[in-house]
């Protein structure tokens, strides 16, 4: 019996490693290739480079518009996430505390956007008429709007769990709505707002469809479009393509490692309870 248990445990551990390797190997192949010479990278193999060539990264940085597009991605992700946190905190607070029919309707109306597909062709028309095509402000506002439904859903549930007695005590002490919100509610919301920020930051950073429709000048491109374009130009040079992929994945993986707790927490909220 004990031998059997031990064998099962070894088998399960081996299986877990096997499955992790299935996820890891594609990345390992790419990382190794990013250091190879052009000739050596012709065939994608899981072998160490004969000599590590760091030049590849320099070439990619210079020819891939990575500096400018890194800045664009950073600007869009940071600004829209900050704005989103601000807007969502306010709306989650009032919509979840105000028990009127109107606020309940508004809540459902807003979270309906979690599932509805965005219609990009008329969206372009709307953005054009607002003068927001090819503009940073336009992209930031668009991303904020896109993030509202899911972020509101997460934050709303969180506000509902803050006891209302707190509000009553604060009002007794002379707080009005805005003071109550800023002094009592916002500090309690910090962790969920960080979650909203991190999740939105990642999804904007990874966004490909919206910029594909809305941005048509190289100077405005985020990392995703720059990488896609780079691949189109250099698809025969796999060492460079690999280096490009590594460079653009790094910021996301760093954010993932730092914000892991918040990312997983945010993605599982709503799925666990019940």
């Amino acid at each position: 019996m004990r031998v059997k248990k031990r064998l099962i445990s070894i088998g399960l551990n081996a299986l877990a490693w096997l499955l992790s390797l299935v996820v890891l190997i594609p990345f390992v192949v790419i990382v190794l290739n990013s250091f190879k010479s052009d000739a050596e990278a012709k065939v994608l193999k899981l072998t160490l480079p004969e000599k590590f060539i760091f030049e590849n990264y320099k070439i990619v940085y210079e020819q891939g518009h990575l500096g400018g597009s890194f800045f664009n991605s950073l600007l869009h992700s940071t600004a829209s996430s900050l704005l989103l946190v601000f807007v969502v905190a306010f709306s989650a607070f009032t919509l979840s505390r105000n028990y009127s029919k109107l606020s309940k309707f508004l809540y459902f109306f807003l979270i309906l956007g979690i599932t509805l597909p965005l219609n990009y062709i008329p969206l372009m028309e709307v953005m054009k008429s607002l003068g927001m095509i090819n503009s940073h402000v336009g992209m930031i506002l668009l991303y904020t709007a896109m993030g509202i439904p899911i972020s509101l859903f997460i934050t709303y549930a969180f506000v509902s769990n803050i006891p209302k007695e707190l509000d009553e005590a604060a009002i007794m002490d002379g707080c009005n709505g805005i003071k109550l919100f800023l002094r009592i509610i916002v500090p309690l919301l910090t962790s969920v707002l960080v979650t909203v920020f991190v999740l939105n930051f990642l999804s904007v950073w990874n966004e490909f469809t919206a910029p594909l429709y809305m941005l048509n000048t190289v100077e405005m491109w985020p990392m995703t479009l720059a990488v896609y374009n780079f691949f189109g130009q250099f698809s025969a040079q796999w060492n460079l393509v690999s280096a490009d992929i590594v460079l653009t994945s790094l910021p996301v993986l760093i954010v993932f490692l730092i914000g892991q707790k918040y990312i997983v927490g945010g993605l599982t909220s709503g799925a666990v309870k019940g």
Partner: protein
């Protein structure tokens, strides 16, 4: 005290304005455009009624192929992600060592953009020098080497496999959270009654996980129906139209300047999603009240 004064609904006007402007207005405008012959060759938008919908649903069979591909993609990836996600979660809560490390590794593709994942696999699946075929050949399995993304038979299954590879970690994380919430006593009581592994799985674990399974299915379906990046980056709909889904077809009709019919395709997707959303929102509403 007057609730409306302390919690005025207009505190949420920022969110409402942005949402109306960028999400709702385009949606409504898109429905209107789908009844017009709007295209890049004339500046006029003439009302033509249901003609586009007739073309899509009964006229040109390629449009039905896009819809069929979308549904097939959604169905197969949803099932694959749910089954694999549950399997991985069960494995990682069964007491394997370094479970957190495994969890992080398997989840990690989820945080990368599909563009990156797509380019990685475009390289790995290259028919001549890609990692997959090179490895198969070096193992003497030449017969298994395929033109993964370029053949009519293999292109769609390859995209589905890559998408499942990327998305299964997210579903796994949901299931891990669900599994950890099941009280241990149930299993202990079942063990005393002499229940085996499979009995515990089907009598306790899966019934207790039903809420998580529901949410996972909802997420998989809504993601699957809206898929764009995965197909666009891996095959751009090819070979021919074999892997085109609704959203890639919308993009190509947009690029060709057929804005009316592109909008009509979007509207069909919108209607499908709206029906599904109705049920989803009811599900989520139930959850919030816990």
């Amino acid at each position: 005290m007057n609730v409306n004064k302390i919690y005025p609904w207009y505190f949420s006007s920022g969110a409402i304005v942005l949402y109306l402007l960028f999400i709702v207005a385009p949606a409504l405008l898109g429905i209107y455009y789908s009844f017009t012959d709007w295209n890049s060759y004339s500046s006029e938008k003439n009302f033509i009624g249901l003609e586009h919908f007739r073309t899509i649903l009964a006229g040109d069979p390629t449009y039905l192929l896009f819809i069929k591909n979308t549904v097939l993609f959604t169905l197969i990836t949803s099932i694959a992600k749910t089954v694999l996600g549950l399997f991985l979660a069960l494995l990682l809560v069964s007491g394997v060592k370094a479970a957190n490390l495994h969890r992080m590794i398997i989840f990690s593709p989820q945080v990368l953009s599909f563009l990156i994942v797509g380019l990685v696999f475009k390289s790995l699946l290259d028919p001549n020098n890609g990692f997959v075929n090179v490895t198969l050949r070096s193992l003497g399995l030449d017969v298994l080497a395929q033109n993964w993304l370029g053949s009519l038979t293999w292109a769609m299954p390859s995209i589905m496999a890559v998408d499942t590879w990327k998305g299964m970690g997210y579903i796994m994380v949901l299931f891990i959270a669900g599994l950890l919430a099941i009280p241990r006593d149930y299993y202990e009581a079942a063990s005393i009654d002499g229940a085996g592994f499979w009995q515990k799985l089907f009598r306790i674990t899966i019934p207790m996980l039903m809420p998580t399974i529901t949410i996972a299915t909802v997420l998989n379906i809504t993601y699957g129906l809206r898929v764009f990046d995965a197909v666009y980056v891996l095959t751009n709909g090819g070979p021919g139209n074999a892997t085109d889904v609704i959203n890639t077809a919308v993009y190509s009709s947009f690029a060709k300047g057929y804005w009316g019919i592109g909008s009509a395709l979007s509207t069909i997707l919108f209607v499908i999603m709206a029906i599904i959303s109705f049920f989803i929102i009811r599900l989520m509403n139930r959850k919030v009240e816990y």
